[in-house]
Symmetry: D2
Subunit: 382 residues, 4 copies
């Protein structure tokens, strides 16, 4: 990701969780967990496992060197294992990566970086939802024009709009949390997926991940589920951001981004650009194409795919970084959003003048808004 | 969808569940359910509701006429309501579509057609998984070459490969079933989403759908969830089909499609084309782009979107039809799959000759395959 | 495509050009052209070719029957050839489909339906560009607020905005016209792509298509080029439509759709919905996912793909229909667009009040607008 | 892009041409070219322009600092201009970025990095095509089994297969070269797109890019054209790589990757993995989703888009890097491809045994293969 744009695309902690260093660290953790699992199963001496785990904690590996070697094997695990074997010395070398294949390590590392990146995404998304909840509560009776097909419709309460944002973000967040908890399963099937399940279970327990029913090698449901849960969340965040850009338009003026100093125009002093909302959209718009790539890459050949598997790594990294950045920007957006109730009322007056009788006494026409906000807040808190 | 290709793209019952007629019927059911819900809530006389429901059962509406009128309003609901009002006569006309907006009816209809289409998809996917379970059971000890990166690797059991298919299809099927049961929520928010929730709850109960926390108008999490669950299932099915095409290659010859008469070549008598597997792939490859379109369309404006909402209808229809066709073809594929254990063994011999010692005594190297198959079958049956 | 939505998704002539009947007709034309080409090359008697061509003109084939049979062979050509052979009788049967393979007929038919659909798309897109040219000419000095990031920026002329639309549509239209003329190449390579080029050249000449350098069987550059040219055009049309929806907002009110009667709201009499613009967006938003599917389907195996090829037919049909509908709606939109110069000036006054000095004397700040419009119109007419 | 995977995803020179540093450099070049163009047009003194150009050559800017500031303005140009103004001192500061807006600099920089990245892509793609030409020439009479739907079909010559690769890569390469030459147009329209065209023309001439008819601000045809041309090329490269993976299968063994040492398996000594082909596929599979993102981002609002524009930068960078890596890997693949004519003949014998009479005397059945190869080579050299 070109670094001059990182401030936009890589806000929040998810991007760091999928960096080259994070992947490398996760592969080392997978090797360490494997060694301990083998020791637990009596497949290697405990001291050997501890020596390997210690070697996995050293920080001297050069990701660029690995990358170059990785290109010779379509996988960075090959040079990683060579380096670890050199570190532990000839007596223990045979215990490194015992019974495993590159895909075991890479897939388990993918689950580990995803677990961490999703943790960051969820923290920001939940904070964003709480900020929306506050807006819903505070603006329960703040009337404004509803707008359908970008035309004035009947009055609504801004609190109800905010409640809609909250419910959407909450629902998508819970889905992602469920995937994170139950569907990020380690891979530990050995060269052709037939390794006994006890090793996978032990590795899962070491790493705080879930264990698979059986090795999932080329059946990429976990990747597809993860990708689409991030995709749905990004879509929910984009909806919030789109609304803010529209309600912040010069002619509308009902919302403003409040974070100080941000969004001043270079050329025009009167402008205050909705920077956070724009950044949410910039990130979120990049997501559906990445989800499609990962869904398309589920068509994997036999015991290891030739191309589709290798296409996942960068795509998944970008997806998690962008989903995380969208969540972080949305949190920032909603925590500092400035609402202009006077402007909302003034715009409604225009609607009343246009002959929409409901706009003359908008509170009488809010329907079940308050009850709906209560229901939404109750669901949010549950 | 061009009808000469319907045999490939529209196999099974899902396509019919999203046809123009099915959408029209679903919109009428939504209007009928609305009338009954209003009557239950005391908002209209029960006989009015029954008269409307009766009018909704008539089959005289012309979809082409509706389509033409729909284009004048970006929605087929406008002419539908006009037609219903004309049917019930001037006294009852005001009760038709009471308190509703076009989006209520269309979104509820979308959920209804999706519910039915998913029912068809699930039936075929579950049957496919059962066929895979039989293969796993029967071929527990059928040895064959594992293939990684399309190169021979260590021996595996074909039963384990089939178990992998089964687990993937099962997992994706359960996800879709969960979405179908809990996330296909009616829409009944009125013109700007503020209608009291009791009406939505009653409509949901009439139609056998779920009720939303609050109206979800432009917060399209249900659509995104549904689309991605179909997308993940299609990916799992594509994996099965890709394996079959590879194992059915002339040089490999380990699997054959068994449905009689199908797949004979026009030009070459010796060929037996893997027609079902190819059709699965033809359908499944069209899915990720449709999922991306629906995720991208989650960015919807304010109280009703100008474009993104209207983009959903055809996309969702195609997605469900193609997902359903992929499931139906996979069922057909797995129910009639012919396995060639002799050929599998012969191919392994070649591997043994190449110096892979494990290939000489493959059963000794199946590792935990049998235990894994048992675990997988237990999970399948649970 | 669900027919209740056809008014939105299938406006204009392109949809008809990719219907099931149109595909069937195109396959018959390809068979007829092949027969004549073979006769020209001395490979069959001229009367045989004429008898086959006559049989290809008959309209009795049932697309649903063909579709069913097609599913048995992953191609509708097999039953089509059987039907033609039955029609011409046992003596001539061997001349039907002489030396050809199903893919020859289907790919050539795909080029033929694409050629026709693109003709329809181009007619509507060019008419839309001409309507934009008129707006550019007429509103050369109509001042309005420029808006960047949806915030008021400096004044512009509406004519320049319209000229921008025109140039974009013109450029994308010329690209598509170039593809239509030079890259829609017949396929006539025989079972494995090695047929002599004279037959392809003669078929191309019969059908008014281009001839390939060599058969392109699984090298799908023509499909990729076509798809992306339609994709770029749809993107240009979407930009026009997005601008109209924004400038037609209740608070902005600078543009209105003018086609009489259209877009009245069911629930709210004061609304006038931008129906054409919304329909453009509904169609255009479905396009990028379809382009991605076709680009992804370029990865085709050896001499005929197992899945990716069969995925093209429906995708290409939908893409052309939607591109055509977007073009037809844009034409309608621009031909009837109502411009409100008074409202444009009034909105600028607000900007002047906000302290933007340029807004007080907007004409002095139009910069090179008039010169730019002249350049754009000159390029349009060239 | 996670650096441990850079060896796969970022091979060749294109990735460097879209790095953060390259973007920063291109923005500085755009500012320098603007200053000189203004001087040429008499809008600033020549010494001022030279001072600015000199300041733009300094290498002290910190991309991470810029990135952080960029996030406050949705653009890295704002802090860049501030830095340049500080460098040239208070007397000349007003000449920096004269009459320009951030989008002018960013879009022009985008065209510049694209021009350079495409240069790298084209060099590798053309070299790959030349390698395919050599294979076509050398293996004109090397017979092998054609394979349709992954089943044996009639014999072909491997030279014809290679010629098909060559023609596809050539055609896609020429399309991309045409876009690079004619459609990568500078942006220099000022805050709302109305700047006189002479400045854009002068900037274009300074930078070796094309000049637009009028500023294209939110009409993103150049981006769409560029993206789709890269997409089509990546599709053509993927076809080559897919064929190699299939023909290199253990059971087929007709092709092998020849680059020494690469692709040895960690676990299994007999394997020789098709590393380059897999890497081509890994890169190419990530491309269609990125193209779709850029086509979808053509829907841009009014004078500057809120989200869609900002989504382009990272997407375009990834697309060019991946397209370039795919081209570089394909070149490597084809330059070192090892062909096994004996194995090809042996596989044909199996076909003959299966009763395909053509396989018994394959040369008699190559049809127009040799003539087709000549045509293809002539087109390649023209």
């Amino acid at each position: 990701m070109a670094s001059v744009f990182a401030g936009i695309y890589a806000r929040g902690a998810a991007a760091g969780a999928v960096s080259g260093g994070a992947w490398l660290g996760a592969m080392l953790e997978a090797e360490a967990a494997l060694a301990r699992a083998c020791a637990r199963a009596g497949q290697m001496p405990v001291p050997a496992a501890e020596a390997i785990a210690a070697a996995c904690r050293e920080e001297e590996l050069d990701p660029h060197e690995l990358s170059r070697e990785a290109a010779e094997h379509t996988s960075p695990v090959v040079p990683l294992v060579q380096a670890l074997r050199a570190r532990v010395g000839p007596d223990l070398a045979r215990y490194v990566h015992l019974g495993a294949t590159s895909q075991d390590i890479l897939d388990t590392a993918a689950m580990l970086v995803s677990h961490r990146a999703c943790g960051a995404i969820l923290t920001d998304a939940r904070t964003a939802a709480r900020a929306a909840a506050r807006l819903a509560e505070e603006h329960r009776e703040t009337v404004m024009a509803g707008r359908t097909l970008l035309q004035h419709a009947l009055p609504i309460s801004f609190g109800l709009r905010a409640a809609g944002w909250m419910v959407g973000v909450d629902t998508a967040t819970r889905r992602l949390a469920g995937v994170r908890e139950r569907e990020l399963v380690v891979q530990m099937g050995g060269p052709v997926g037939s390794r006994e399940p006890a090793i996978a279970a032990a590795v899962a327990s070491e790493l705080g991940l879930a264990a698979p029913v059986i090795p999932w090698d080329t059946m990429r449901v976990p990747i597809g589920s993860l990708a689409s849960a991030v995709g749905v969340l990004a879509g929910a965040l984009a909806k919030v951001a789109r609304d803010v850009t529209l309600l912040a338009q010069s002619e509308v003026g009902e919302l403003r981004e409040g974070a100080s100093g941000r969004g001043r125009s270079t050329a025009m002093a009167h402008k205050r650009n909705p920077v956070a909302a724009i950044s949410v959209l910039a990130c979120a718009r990049r997501v559906p194409g990445l989800v499609a790539t990962l869904l398309g890459a589920m068509e994997q050949e036999l015991e290891r795919a030739a191309g589709a598997w290798q296409a996942e790594w960068g795509t998944l990294s970008d997806l998690l970084a962008l989903g995380g950045s969208a969540a972080s920007w949305t949190r920032d957006l909603l925590e500092h959003l400035e609402v202009e109730p006077d402007r909302m009322r003034a715009n409604l007056t225009r609607l009343a003048k246009a002959g929409v009788t409901e706009a003359a006494d908008p509170r009488a026409h809010l329907g079940g808004a308050s009850e709906l906000i209560d229901r939404a807040l109750a669901a949010h808190r549950s």
